[in-house]
């Protein structure tokens, strides 16, 4: 089709199923970007209706009103009102409502109507409403609201067919937008709108004969003052054990695969091509391979986060953690961004947008990089498997898993401490921001939406492995290979390279914390992405040793490092600001370099002091 596509926008309160509808309308034809100038995520996608209209659709941030209390809500308001530069006003707004929970959305609908744009009400989750025995007189409701209404089940195959059909019918006719009568609602307006919404609901909805007692029953355990916290701790513990143990077989498979591929190249290449051979085997394949090996772990951690989110547990976790985090000067809502930071600080920092108070948001951004992100896992795994025996304690706890858990705990504890200190020094006069959150009903997680979510993240990770990390690997291989050793030179060739020069230059600074020059070399590309340090160590050592393949890095390290050095590097990785992209995101999110510099410096100082203490303590204890 050559005509410009029609623009739809999904508007509605949080948790009404906008993203699920978006997924089921567009499938995998989605694009995630940022709105220009701000850092709110812009999710757009396209599809073709049954009658052949090509349509683009926007998944707007959830909101309870057009008041715009946070940057996300301002985006929704401005797009709906057609005030957003560079974003055309939608041809049709699909206002999404949870059919089992109409009160708040209907008030939003009444507010949206005042904007005067073409609009259709989508009663989503009609399957749940039916199961519970809620009946809705759709004709009457449509009459009362003066809007077309369709029902949908966003998560079922064919659950949006009526929506598609009605969209076609709607778009077939021209629609004039009326002049907007919208003004920022006052409290009296809000109350009047809520009364009107309640009146309509009373007239058209017959309430459930069996209310959702299941959610309540689950909550009486999950939100229990004691058991709730125990369950939360168990969930986190299982998550980290899983990351360490479940991923193992897949990781071994991948690492064997890359080793075999490297060997194959080695064998196939003719003898005289030593440099190219070394580049392909040691620079390219083992470099990228040693990072891709961690894909299974990243998939598992995102699987957990997305499952918990979809199930409705994340809001409960915020409830349980609000006071505890409040003690450290954090908002309950910070829990979700911080939990996402376990996967990667970048989405975590971006997720702090749900915190509408600027100071709370800044504190959360400041400590998000201390959460153990998945890029640290490669480094932790490498060192732990080289230095910690894989014994089983008490019959079920894997010692390596326990150490991993300890590293996570150290990250969390230090984050809370930093936050408490920041609260004390930076904003002592600051009263806590309010915590107000809807606790949605529990839902069975949907395989499809989880799969889409995990897939997007895996793609992001592989993309990073394929671009940033690959180019860093090529760079480090170059630094480690040139200038080449003069003919007849003594010792390993890498001792003559640029890498060695840089490493030796930094070594005096790092010697007090137990790092040798090889570690110093690996830390440099590790700034681009933490996990690169693993491959870099491989390059540094395998080139030096000549024969060791990348999958034997661990064994090499176990011979070359003392336990004190290994522990010091582990501790370094808890704190060090070893990620240029995180720093870049902080700069973007806080609108200036100041907080980026603050984050970098405080993390560097923490890392140096903590590693110094660890190294010297370990040496004093005789851990060689």
């Amino acid at each position: 089709m050559t005509t410009a596509s029609l623009r739809l926008a999904l508007v509605g309160a949080p948790n009404t199923g906008k993203t699920s509808l978006f997924n089921s309308l567009t499938g995998s034809r989605q694009k995630v970007a940022n709105y220009p100038g701000v850092t709110v995520e812009r999710k757009s996608g396209s599809f073709v209706t049954p009658e052949g209209r090509s349509v683009t659709v926007l998944d707007l941030p959830g909101t309870y009103s057009l008041r715009g209390r946070s940057p996300d809500e301002e985006i929704t308001r401005d797009i709906v009102l057609g005030r957003f530069d560079g974003e055309a006003v939608p041809d049709l707004m699909l206002c999404v409502a949870d059919a089992t929970n109409l009160r708040l959305t209907l008030r939003l609908v009444l507010e949206l109507k005042r904007v005067g744009r073409p609009m259709m009400l989508v009663l989503n989750m009609i399957d749940i409403a039916k199961r519970r025995g809620v009946t809705i007189d759709l004709d009457r409701m449509s009459q009362e609201l003066g809007l077309p209404i369709v029902t949908s089940v966003a998560v079922r195959k064919g659950g949006v067919s009526e929506l598609l059909k009605r969209t076609d019918e709607f778009l077939a006719k021209p629609h004039e937008a009326a002049a907007s009568e919208w003004t920022t609602p006052t409290i009296a307006d809000l109350k009047a709108a809520q009364r009107e919404a309640d009146r309509i609901i009373a007239a058209v909805v017959t309430l459930p004969t069996k209310p959702d007692t299941l959610t309540n029953r689950i909550d009486s355990v999950v939100l229990h003052p004691v058991w709730g916290l125990v369950i939360l701790a168990v969930i986190l513990f299982v998550m980290f054990q899983a990351v360490f143990t479940w991923a193992q077989p897949a990781m071994e498979l991948l690492s064997d695969g890359f080793a075999a591929l490297g060997q194959l190249i080695h064998d196939v290449m003719p003898e005289g091509w030593g440099l190219l051979q070394s580049f392909l085997q040691n620079g390219l394949i083992s470099g990228v391979g040693s990072v891709i090996v961690f894909l299974p772990q990243i998939i598992i951690i995102f699987l957990f986060i997305l499952l918990l989110e979809d199930f409705g547990y994340m809001a409960r976790a915020a409830f349980l953690m609000d006071r505890i985090m409040g003690g450290a000067g954090l908002h309950g809502r910070a829990f979700i961004p911080l939990l996402s930071s376990f996967a990667c600080a970048i989405p975590g920092i971006m997720a702090t947008r749900v915190i509408d108070n600027r100071r709370d948001r800044l504190t959360t951004i400041l400590i998000a990089p201390l959460m153990t992100c998945s890029a640290r896992i490669p480094v932790y795994t490498l060192i732990i498997s080289a230095f910690v025996p894989a014994t089983t304690l008490w019959g079920f706890v894997n010692l390596q898993g326990l150490v991993m858990f300890g590293l996570y705990a150290a990250g969390i504890t230090s984050a809370l401490t930093v936050s408490a200190i920041a609260k004390f020094f930076l904003w002592r006069d600051h009263a806590p921001a309010p915590f107000m959150l809807e606790l949605p009903d529990y839902k069975m997680p949907r395989l499809k939406s989880i799969a889409i979510g995990v897939f997007t993240r895996a793609k992001m990770f592989l993309y990073r492995a394929g671009t940033t990390i690959l180019s860093m690997m090529v760079l480090i291989w170059f630094l480690a290979s040139f200038p080449q050793a003069p003919a007849g030179a003594e010792g390993p060739a890498i001792n003559y390279s640029f890498a060695a020069m840089i490493g030796h230059a930094l070594e005096p600074l790092l010697r007090p914390i137990g790092f040798n020059w090889q570690i110093a070399v690996a830390l440099i590309p590790g700034m681009a992405a933490r996990e690169v340090a693993v491959a870099a160590l491989g390059t540094v050592y395998s080139i030096e040793g000549g024969k060791e393949a990348a999958d034997q890095i661990g064994q090499v390290l176990a011979q070359k490092w003392t336990l004190a050095t290994a522990l010091s590097l582990l501790v370094w990785y808890i704190f060090a600001p070893q990620c240029a992209s995180t720093l870049a995101v902080i700069r973007r999110e806080t609108g200036g370099a100041k907080w980026m510099v603050v984050t970098f410096l405080y993390m560097l100082a923490l890392a140096y002091v903590a590693s110094f203490l660890t190294f010297n303590l370990a040496q004093a204890l005789g851990l060689h």
Binding site: K191, Q194, D198, D219, G228, L229, F319, R323, P434
Partner: protein
């Protein structure tokens, strides 16, 4: 019913939701955001409460309480559940 009866009220039966215990069931009489421990301005607090469905006449029930100082609370407001802190719930006058 427990909680301190608010002395500023004419009706001694009216209490603030922030004082009520778990299991409390009642009805919202009005909002009064002037004297709460919230960091929000009274007007902003009232607006947010209304947006979350706390309006006159709504049935409220305290379903769950947090671990530390029984805060925050999970409140059933008609047929949705809202989590909020007691300091903000002080603005909700119930009977």
């Amino acid at each position: 019913m427990t909680g301190d009866p608010d002395t500023s009220q004419d009706n001694l039966q009216d209490i603030r939701l922030g004082h009520a215990d778990r299991g409390f069931v009642g009805k919202i009489i009005r909002l009064d955001a002037l004297v709460t421990g919230s960091s929000l301005s009274p007007q902003e607090l009232e607006q947010r409460l209304v947006e979350m469905g706390f309006v006159e006449g709504a049935r409220v029930e305290i379903l769950h309480e947090g671990t530390i100082r029984r805060d925050p609370i999970a409140v059933r407001v008609d047929n949705i559940t809202i989590a909020l802190r007691r300091s903000e719930a002080m603005a909700v006058i119930v009977e």
